[in-house]
Symmetry: C2
């Protein structure tokens, strides 16, 4: 029974919308929701050590099954005692199913009713992942939360494509569900259905029938406009079980987090904070800024005066700008720390405001700040 290992409790809901604060307990610790989860693609959050990830406030991180399966390989991770021992990271870990990367990164993929044939883009080696194999991979990796193997339709796509992808996703979920027997790893089903309301509703109702410790909404952040992303989230999230955590996959920006929480989402992940950092962009409560801009040359203030991350407590924009311009990796490290901390802290603060009953006011003030730059530009 999942309830032997996982428990989710909604401790407070907003009176104005579907936002909720919760506690999600897992075999490796309790997660306060809403939560932002940093992504450790290759079993390390890019540019960072575990210390830095934990000091940035991370309560749970992701690793990518697709990457770990290809390199380092499941046998090595399993021999090491699973991802927690492998990485020496002893808080909750979530692995995705590999499906999203197979579709987005691989060459020569061939989708069959049984699974997906693909080539490793780095060395051309051939592979096949089915729902059963994805479960086996994720069991070898040993994360606390594992994801069903699904087909994520691209954006844009037509109704038939979305219908076919959803049908496969439904069938594959049943296979995953039957294949996975280890209740110390929570298997999250995934809602698909692209941007078609009826398919999304059908998918949400379908996955809700499965006894699971949490449910995910996939097929977002695949290139669709923000309005569509919000619409999908808004119509889907409330159809998922109230008493289980809801995870919006691959999302997102500070604005996305506020919207998602408002629609009843509890968990978020995205490579954006670390990817942005490597490209010199950082989050602030006044919107995204670009560190190499000339305006910061003599700016001896922190990236954001309201931020209490390691970077903001210790360094100035002028210093980080210099490191970035001279291609010192430390710049990307400092910006990554800030960006990850920013989203984790944002989720934490939204949670506090839900508990204190001020979410509506607090989140709309934040939203004004995040959208300020866009308004200034218009």
């Amino acid at each position: 029974m999942y309830s032997d290992f996982f428990n989710f409790e909604v401790i407070k809901t907003s009176k104005d919308n579907l936002a909720r604060a919760g506690l999600f307990s897992t075999p490796h610790g309790i997660i306060e929701t809403p939560i932002f989860m940093p992504v450790g693609t290759n079993s390390a959050v890019k540019m960072l050590t575990n210390d830095q990830v934990l000091n940035a406030g991370a309560q749970i991180i992701l690793a990518n099954s697709y990457h770990m399966y290809l390199r380092a390989g499941c046998d090595l991770i399993k021999t090491a005692g699973g991802l927690h021992n492998w990485m020496n990271f002893h808080k909750p870990i979530l692995t995705d199913s590999g499906g999203f990367q197979v579709f987005s990164l691989s060459k020569l993929r061939k989708i069959t009713p049984e699974g997906v044939y693909f080539q490793d883009p780095k060395n051309g080696s051939k592979h096949f992942i089915s729902p059963e194999i994805s479960m086996k991979i994720q069991e070898d990796l040993g994360a606390d939360i594992i994801m069903a193997f699904d087909e994520c339709a691209p954006y844009p796509c037509n109704y038939e494509q979305a219908r076919n992808a959803l049908d496969k996703t439904k069938k594959w979920l049943e296979i995953c569900y039957n294949a996975h027997k280890n209740y110390s790893q929570a298997l999250f089903p995934i809602v698909q259905g692209a941007h078609f309301d009826d398919l999304r509703r059908e998918s949400a109702q379908f996955v809700s029938k499965f006894d699971a410790a949490g449910y995910a909404i996939g097929g977002v952040s695949v290139g669709e406009p923000t309005e569509i992303k919000n619409h999908i989230t808004q119509i889907t999230a409330p159809l998922l079980p109230f008493d289980k955590p809801r995870y919006l996959m691959g999302v997102g920006t500070p604005v996305d987090l506020i919207n998602g929480v408002k629609f009843g989402i509890d968990m978020f992940d995205c490579v954006l904070p670390t990817r942005n950092a490597r490209h010199g962009t950082f989050f602030t409560y006044e919107g995204n800024k670009i560190i190499k801009n000339k305006q910061f040359e003599y700016d001896f203030s922190p990236l954001d005066k309201r931020c209490d991350c390691y970077t903001c407590k210790n360094h100035t924009k002028a210093y980080i700008r210099h490191l970035y311009k001279t291609q010192e990796a430390t710049a990307a490290t400092l910006l990554s720390i800030h960006n990850i901390h920013f989203l984790i802290k944002l989720a934490h603060n939204l949670r506090q405001s839900i508990i204190e009953g001020t979410f509506e006011k607090y989140s709309s003030e934040l939203m004004d700040g995040f959208l300020k730059q866009e308004a200034d530009r218009a």
Copy 2:
């Protein structure tokens, strides 16, 4: 007077050789010698944050005047309140004169009796650095220890080249000495003379006449064989004042540190630990090893079992190897932490053995270990 700001005390000498343990107090703190100083070329130790540098045991770091002069520029650093505030690093800092980089990195340099004309290799801009200008740059940067502007002859070079470079170095030292009036920054003269014993002796005697808080040996680690490096150090170090710290510039390896300490050197710096790390090589008490080697694929032991750095306390060779092979920057960070800590700890342990009267035995045991691989290969 330098003695208002700097003090060096030899607290113990070896009975078998010239090794000594000392305490060097500076405006930003006391340095225990022998010491290894990590290099922060562009005002950051490559791949690392200050936290990681300090946790690796650093008591003092270097920054490069040449790089800081070209980018970020002295005005910016001065406006920030000097390097300590700029970097938010409040332990001792040493800057070199810029001379070595002008000779090794710049294009179209022209050396005149007054100074050096050169072009920035990145953008072609033209510059001139003289002894006076080097002093001004280093005063703007505000490090605790600053270096005389010298001419470093290449290896190999003939006697005439070495003679000319030394003559300029002597004249330039007088100019530096007269130009520098801020006793809260210790100006270290530099011994040159290439691999010619008489020139080295002449230079050592010349610099020793200047009242300084410490003295450096330059023109080593420029491509010469280890035997020549050792010989230069061995004949030069004892000619420098006993009661002042002696700094062997740009050195070195674990073996170099042991040799240098034995010859009476107190301070070392080198980019090797961080450069090696970025290329996947790490120090061990059994010699250098290469992380990507297949033999480490399933090796769940730390980089070195005797090491207590963050990396060795937390991660395995197998994990770091995977990160290195998947080009995760975290691998270079973890290896940099280890390599820097390794040299700092080595210098610390040598110091302890001097204090305890066991240096000769301890250092020769270490040397056997470091040279083990070479012996195994032979």
